[in-house]
Amino acid sequence: MTERTLTPVLTRRWAAPRSWTIDTYTRLDGYTALRTALAADPDQLIQLIKDSGLRGRGGAGFPTGMKWGFIPQAKPGEQPTGPAAKPTYLVINADEGEPGTCKDVPLMMADPHSLVEGCIITAYAIRAHRCFIYVRGEVVHCLRRVHNAVKEAYAAGYLGSNILGSGFDLDIVVHAGAGAYEAGEETALLNSLEGLRAEPRLKPPFPATSGLYAAPTVVNNVETICTVPYIVNGGSDWFRTMGTEKSPGPKIYSISGHVQRPGQYEAPLGTTLRELLELAGGMKGELKFWTPGGSSTPLLTTKHMDVPLDFEGAAEAGSMLGTTAVMVFNTTVSVPWAVMKWTEFYEHESCGKCTPCREGTYWLTQILQRMVRKEGTPSDVETMLDICDNIFGRSFCALGDGAVSPIRSGIKYFRQEFLDLCAQQSGHPRQAALSGSVR
């Protein structure tokens, strides 16, 4: 087996002096892909991204070219009707909030122009003239850097009307969120951008035909869009030299927790935890459990160190690739405690629109808190699994499904630890967790 190496593509400029400025960006090949793109037919770009096999980096892994291809386009020479007659929007999901996920924030801080260039190319491909970058409110430094990059791009003629003489017009608005994990769900994001509560919308209709202001809309993640200029410059064959057949390309793995050198490691999709740990200087302590891509992706254990971390590999191992947020925990960490903390998160962030998630996360939190206080009973484990069954697949959006991931996988691999905790009842008078509790 050859040694696993890093493949800095998106992270290549990060260490350059003042990497966030247009000068550094253009000096390091920035805005070259834009010229190629603007000289092409938009459909060629959509085809290129389809050929590249690029899949969304926001968690779900949906094929990006296919998403762009869903935007209804008027046939040449015909009067557009229906959705094709409305303006098309591009919305960038920069609301990074999935616990463990910390890739879009450093990417936007270090190289905001790659996002801007990606937006222009994407907008041109889907024929959008307005783009909104929805940045999580709490990361104000990203907001500044992206705002500044957009300003610089306008001044350089890369934004505005008749970009580089191509006849193509694009305006970008940088928009700050206000604190809500659920606003990262794409339809909730659109509601939030329309000035509503960040509650998701029923699908269908999908954003491709009825998105922002009920007009055709593409929503893509920051890392997805930042990848686009490289594919234009390198071509789909080059892109496919990294990663696997179904999960091609490089990916920013964010390694956090009990490792020697936590941080951002860009490697081909399909890299394993064993390899990542080696790159990160090894464990601090002994590995106990980890997530491949954020708290919504089921936990894995020491048995899964050689699982290729691509979309297929993670799924075959019973988890999901998610956002490649690799959180690593050693044997000092209690699984029930960690699961309780995550469940408290989902309970807090549940938007309240649907009953299974709103009520279920509440009761799960009650049970877990009681258990961690050493007031649990062995039947609590089954009760939790039962509640999970009532949330999973029955919730309105994927937050509900994500909320049960830590619990189900935690119990699957560490059931005895939950039972042992319940057996250690401290003898406090037990509060009934499921009766008479007032919200």
């Binding site: 910390c102 700050a176 206000a178 080059w238 990160a280 807090h348 629109k353 919200r439």
Partner: protein, 302 residues
């Protein structure tokens, strides 16, 4: 998202703000109807009734004075609205603007946003109470947000939060010192702040202070209380929370101020860990072809 506190100055009953529908229990006349311009109100003191299209009598709103928002703020509000194809999209930035003036989402701020966007105050309130960054009570000069999500907590975030609460004698979203006065500090526990590789982290006015310890966090708030502004690990030179709120509304000041803020540090060693390792080992991504390869042909358009 459950709101534990009603909006300050209002009597909206939002004890369980999670309720799926938007018509929350309302018991204040201020939340029952569209605000009415002052000159249309014959007697401001006495709430009267007013017929709606459906001829249902509703109570006339009590007039809320929005005079606290000066000409500059009103200009900024118009600039925000002009950014969007539809005015309502301006609501979140407008509420950030309100906080930059008032230090929280005040009743006047709700009326201000409602008037500008031709919404009811209820429509604005239901949005304001949904998002955690919109504060219902006046906040301190500085807002300290400690990440207590799992990863940070496992590395000490819970102790940092508990230590700060003890040191300041406050709990979640409470303020030590008179809100807004110099050295006043509001504390909150925050969800994952997208900085897990730098755990445990906290933010002051949303600027990052990475790799904290209970001791370093206490030393930081002591400095803030003394009126000092220690530089963040990643972010712009520290100002105060209201100033950050103005930036969240999209106003970054004079070009020089923007430049200084933009140039605040961002590349922590963790950020560059992979980058540095690749450099050390001489690893690169596969080389791109010398010239961009020709783009794929597209099928003739039907």
């Amino acid at each position: 998202m459950r709101s534990e506190e009603p909006l300050a100055g209002s009597s909206i009953n939002s004890a369980n703000n999670k309720s799926a529908n938007h018509d929350e229990p309302v018991d204040s006349p201020a939340f029952t109807a569209r605000p009415v311009a002052a000159e249309e109100i014959p007697d401001q003191a006495a709430p009267t009734t007013l017929s709606t299209a459906q001829d249902v009598p509703v109570e006339r709103p009590l007039q809320v004075d929005t005079g606290v928002f000066d000409e500059l703020t009103r200009q900024r509000a118009q600039e925000i609205i002009a950014r969007y194809p539809q005015p309502r999209s301006a609501l979140l930035p407008l509420l950030h603007l309100v906080q930059s003036v008032e230090g929280y989402v005040s009743q006047a701020g709700i009326s201000f946003a409602a008037e500008l966007l031709e919404l009811t105050t209820a429509e604005v309130s239901t949005v304001a109470t949904f998002y955690t960054m919109f504060k219902r009570r006046p906040a301190g000069e500085h807002l300290v947000s400690v990440c207590t999500n799992t990863l940070c907590a496992a590395l000490g975030g819970d102790e940092i939060y508990a230590g700060l609460c003890k040191k300041l004698g406050v709990g979640h979203e409470e303020t030590a010192g008179r809100p807004g006065s110099s050295g006043s500090i509001t504390v909150e526990h925050a969800e994952c702040l997208a900085a897990c590789d730098l755990a445990p982290v906290l933010q002051v006015n949303y600027e990052f202070y990475d790799n904290q310890t209970p001791e370093s966090a206490v030393a930081l708030v002591e400095a803030l209380q003394r009126g000092e502004r220690p530089a963040p690990t990643r972010g712009a030179p520290l100002t105060d929370w209201r100033h950050t709120e103005l930036q969240l509304a999209g106003f970054f000041g004079e070009p020089q101020e923007l430049r200084d803020a933009v140039d605040g540090p961002s590349a922590a060693p963790e950020t560059l860990a992979g980058n540095r390792l690749a450099e050390e080992k001489g690893w690169t991504a596969p080389a791109m072809p010398g010239n961009p390869p020709p783009l794929p042909a597209v099928a003739d358009k039907k």
